[in-house]
Subunit: 356 residues, 2 copies
Amino acid sequence: MMETQSKIRIKDIAEMSGVSVGTVDRVLHGRTNVSKKSLEKVQKVLDEINYVPNHYASALASNKVHKFAAILPMHEVDSYWARVEKGLYEGVRKFNDFKISFDVFQYDPFNDESFKSECDNLINSEPDAVIIGPIFNYNIMKNFVDRLDKKELPYALLDSNWSEFNPVTFYGQDSLKSGEFSGRIMEMAIKGDADEIAIFRVMGEGRVASRQQMNREVGFRNYMKEHCPKCKIHEVNLYAYDKPGMKEILNEFFTQNPDVQYGVSFNSSIHLVGEFLCKEMPKRKVTLMGYDAVDANVKCIKDGSVDFLIAQHPHDQGLNCFRSMFNACVLHIKQKRDHYVSIELLTKENIDFYTD
Amino acid sequence: MMETQSKIRIKDIAEMSGVSVGTVDRVLHGRTNVSKKSLEKVQKVLDEINYVPNHYASALASNKVHKFAAILPMHEVDSYWARVEKGLYEGVRKFNDFKISFDVFQYDPFNDESFKSECDNLINSEPDAVIIGPIFNYNIMKNFVDRLDKKELPYALLDSNWSEFNPVTFYGQDSLKSGEFSGRIMEMAIKGDADEIAIFRVMGEGRVASRQQMNREVGFRNYMKEHCPKCKIHEVNLYAYDKPGMKEILNEFFTQNPDVQYGVSFNSSIHLVGEFLCKEMPKRKVTLMGYDAVDANVKCIKDGSVDFLIAQHPHDQGLNCFRSMFNACVLHIKQKRDHYVSIELLTKENIDFYTD
């Protein structure tokens, strides 16, 4: 388990180049005040010995502040995005031996203008690297990514992946597979072969909040079409900015559709349905499945008003995404393009052993 | 996020005690060749200032080799225990700045004498700390643990927990909850309310290999008794040292019990049943569930001969267990008694995103 390797020290390079140790040090760390002649001498030796720079030591020694910025959907305490953000900040702390700054810009996921204006703020803050929790709209994302590319600013994608872009890395679930998995669990939960299922969507501006959510629904529908072709799937649209209206919509839906015994939501809001049924229709038994072990959902799992959650370790997503960006942008280590995170089923029986 | 604290340096302690820096250093690192008088002077100052030792620096500076030993069930390449062992060795590597030795003693889990004799070998090797993958028998474990206690040797338990013992820490699944979770999944998989289920057990000396396995079965049966009371549960005992005999037993069982459509195993051997059915009774559809994402099981999930696996990150168990023991025994940081690991469902849809 021991490895030996002959290490070339700065002292050796200095001797080989015929310059001082201090000069080699200045060259290696990219500092100024080195004469052109000395620089050439050192560079020649570095080329000859195939010198692989120790970026870690180099970055530690550097006076440069590495400016990271993230643009994320605005979020309440304990939401999916709050946990991702906590993970990002833990990443910042992990590398606090280095000079790092980190700013987070929050946008309204249902308001394209809000995203655009936060993109402007982010770019004006002149970061060195960017982490993006993407907005739904392709053209708006494309415009932002093009601006980053033009400035040669490296960026990472979190949660929603886009094969059309070239981020340093992506962290999040494979949304289609995640939807197929939720279909598999639903198929197991339903007992008859012609059951009725409701998809609950939290909408704004006529769409859900993210591509990740939209594609989970695609994966779910693909699975159900193949494995439960006779199941009837209802769509129930709830409006993010109309909480009182939600109650009305749910009340109407469940009253008009007495045979719906199963429900699913592809974001972390299934607790809204669980709480509604618990309070307003306590005798109605609907098997519910949703995403993310946020506190409100965990509470519903424990009291039985929600049956299944699919979890994805948001804190680890944030932490690992920050680490990847740090490795790529500060240590110049190439990162894997796609990091698909786990797709985990939580029930009353195993939820106590899940950690973010 | 910055903390400031006034640090007392060795130099300060030396001045306050009126001895040399070297003497303080020797006292702090527990070395010999310090006069009784100097020792008392230094100790008095340490008491006065409520000195909290920096165990990390102290351990790094020490010349002591920390001898860790593990006693584990013998295992084939890629088994659950092979992955745990890999994790333990990764732990050893992580702390290779320290002087650590690590020996693994392997015993036959179905042979009590083999365990006893490896316990002797382990104790004769004079380790400082012990990691135990327990044998099934309580009295034999008790005897071993008593010997460790008498020598004041700290130990950890892996996989099977025993509330009667006082290990530094335990890493593994909550076996009853794990069994209940497998019951929940089985309840969902079965479609009728009076279905027939087979429990496949790999036995030796009239028992399964571990308490963990036995208690998973207890949890499973509890769940099924409550939620599917009309289900008929068969027991099929396979013998670990009689591989040809397995085929005969499975053949006889499936022939005599044409209504059994579901099967479960509480260790990592469900692939034996999947492979048998695939090859010998390709038309017989049995929904199978087992434990552990070992290669043979993953292959069965992908070809559809096994439907569900419950996974538990064995590599992380080994790594984290070693880290805990290192923290407890070298850095003198108290560890949590029980570390219950996650209970994860793997299917064809999400298995690609699971990592050990």
